[in-house]
């Protein structure tokens, strides 16, 4: 097991409802620095809603989010990005008309500081800044082994590669927490293995904390340090993969049904 650090993100008693539909009910869990934290559960359990709360897309009606010691009622998407939370989406949200390179460059958006006038003139500082960030993006591209598709518009890529580009865009932001919503959905075994390797490498090399939602139990049990289990918007389990595997509640609600 990896050495994990302090609690970096603490979710306390989060409840979220859409009208009368309760998506999340009184959920608490924490994420430690440098760990890989998985969220699992059957369809409709509230996993994606949970990520959307962390990243500020949804505002919970109740509860508190403590991120790096700062207490908040809810996050806001822009602020979340600014404070180092990057994410990928379940149904890939890439800029389809743009090339792989440009998509990943957008991940650098918050790190670039030249003003509108400098950029309009594309002179001196703006050009230097562009080149400097381009270098970092090329490193991300090398890391994900997608050099050969750098100039391809992402809309033309197969699904598995799009997922990888989306990961690249999130990585380019050098996030402290990376939220991955089903990073391996719809992939074949080989693609899944690649993705697992990238996730572990990111965690290892950059020390990035990772929160991921995944349906493939083999993957989850292999790569995660701790697992949260949701069912119908409630937390029914939280612990190391080995404990989760043996928990009767979890087996009943989830694994038991599936197998």
């Amino acid at each position: 097991m990896r050495p994990t650090g302090e609690v970096i993100l603490d979710l306390r008693n989060i409840s979220l409802a859409f009208g009368g539909v309760k998506a999340l009910t009184d959920i608490s869990f924490d994420v430690r620095e440098h760990e890989i934290r998985a969220i699992i559960g059957p369809n409709g359990a509230g996993k994606s809603s949970m990520l959307n709360v962390i990243n500020g897309v949804y505002r919970p009606q109740q509860g508190e989010i403590v991120f790096r010691g700062e207490h908040r009622r809810n996050m806001n998407t822009y602020q979340a990005a600014k404070s180092g939370i990057a994410r990928t989406f379940q149904n890939i949200a890439l800029f389809r008309g743009m090339t792989v390179l440009d998509n990943i460059m957008t991940g650098r958006n918050l790190k670039m500081h030249c003003n509108l006038l400098q950029q309009a003139l594309y002179w001196g500082a703006a050009q230097r800044e562009e080149l400097e960030h381009r270098r970092i993006v090329e490193e991300v591209i090398d890391f994900l082994e997608i050099q050969y598709i750098r100039k391809t518009p992402v809309g033309r890529l197969p699904y598995g590669l799009q997922k990888r580009v989306e990961l690249g865009r999130a990585l380019a932001a050098e996030p402290s927490i990376l939220l991955l919503d089903e990073p391996m959905a719809g992939m074949n075994t080989e693609e899944k293995q690649d993705m697992c390797r990238f996730i572990l490498d990111v965690n290892d090399e950059f020390g990035t904390t990772i929160v991921l939602i995944e349906h493939d139990m083999g993957v989850v049990m292999d790569i995660s340090d701790r697992v949260v289990v949701l069912d119908y918007g409630r937390k029914i389990g939280d612990g190391a993969p080995a404990d989760i595997r043996n928990s009767q509640d979890v087996i009943d609600a989830y694994l038991g049904v599936a197998h």
Partner: protein, 299 residues
């Protein structure tokens, strides 16, 4: 038919085509960044030209009137974003389109309420006369004004094309156009980006208004220019800045050539409808335009 005459018509057409591109550019900017077809772009051109002339008529020199109008246009652009489009975020495209139709009438009305509906001449100090040296050596008449106008338009288009493809804000603009949610998640501030786009569109409208106003006089019919931009957009693609230029050139050249060579056989007036026919044929063959983003569908 001699080659010299052909070239004269062709060049004249290409130069006026650049002027069409200038109007089309305003549409492309806003469409690229927000997916909104801004029906009010023609009204903004009219508004800009009328404001410049209005300020100039008050005794202010043109050198001051133009920067003042620029400030007004940027303010107008920002106001439109804030009061019309921001409240309509996440509405279907057709709703936004309807809003810009309403906006078009509002902007036209506002311009005339402030400055009156009279026709004004606009004198930029560039004379619309053939360049003598070219005339002497080749016998082809090229208007000095057209050449200067084309130069300004080309410079503006080049600058915007680089801005869009090479800078952070340019990339953010394209990103926002593509997927709002994803753009937010990488920390692109939507409203700031839209503000910038509308301000830039206001600026482009000013340049188009000045050039067209100087050529045709500043009057209400400037708003109809907007309609001439449509075939340009269909040819060039709604999302491409180089496309707006190439589309403009094709439309400009082909309508003039059609007028001269087909016109006499069908009783003239070809210039008015030929671009639309061309656009229609083009839609059948290549609906995304020459340079537009290919429509990719997975089945």
């Amino acid at each position: 038919m001699d080659a010299q005459f052909f070239f004269e018509v062709l060049l004249g057409g290409l130069l006026s085509g650049v002027m069409y591109s200038l109007v089309a550019l305003g549409y492309v900017l806003i469409y690229k960044a927000s997916g909104v077809f801004n029906f009010a772009q023609g009204s903004m051109v009219f508004f800009a030209a009328l404001t410049t002339v209005g300020i100039h008529d008050m005794g202010v020199s043109l050198w001051l009137a133009v920067p003042l109008t620029m400030i007004v246009m940027i303010a107008l652009g920002l106001a439109i974003e804030k009061f019309v489009l921001r409240p309509l975020v996440a509405q279907p495209e057709i709703t936004l389109f309807m809003a810009t139709i309403g906006l078009a009438f509002f902007v036209e009305g506002l311009a005339q309420a402030i400055w009156g509906a009279a026709v004004h001449p606009l004198e930029l100090g560039i004379e619309d006369v053939p360049i003598q040296s070219v005339m002497d050596s080749t016998g082809i008449a090229i208007s000095q004004f057209d050449l200067v106008a084309a130069g300004i338009a080309a410079a503006l288009v080049t600058a915007l094309a680089i801005f869009f493809s090479k800078t952070r804000i340019g990339r953010a603009l394209r990103a926002v156009a593509d997927d709002h949610q994803a753009a937010l998640s990488v920390g692109i501030p939507l409203q700031q980006i839209w503000g910038i786009v509308w301000a830039v569109a206001g600026f482009v409208a000013l340049v188009a208004g000045l050039l067209w106003g100087a050529r045709n006089g500043v009057e209400f019919s400037l708003t109809f220019l907007a309609l001439k931009a449509l075939p340009v957009l269909i040819l060039g693609g709604f999302t491409s800045i180089p496309g707006a230029i190439v589309g403009g050139l094709i439309i400009g050249a082909s309508e003039k050539l059609a007028e001269v060579y087909i016109g006499p056989h069908v009783g003239g007036g070809v210039e008015g409808w030929f671009p639309y026919l061309l656009a229609l044929l083009f839609l059948l063959v290549r609906p995304e335009g020459l340079f537009g983003e290919r429509i990719i569908r997975r089945i």
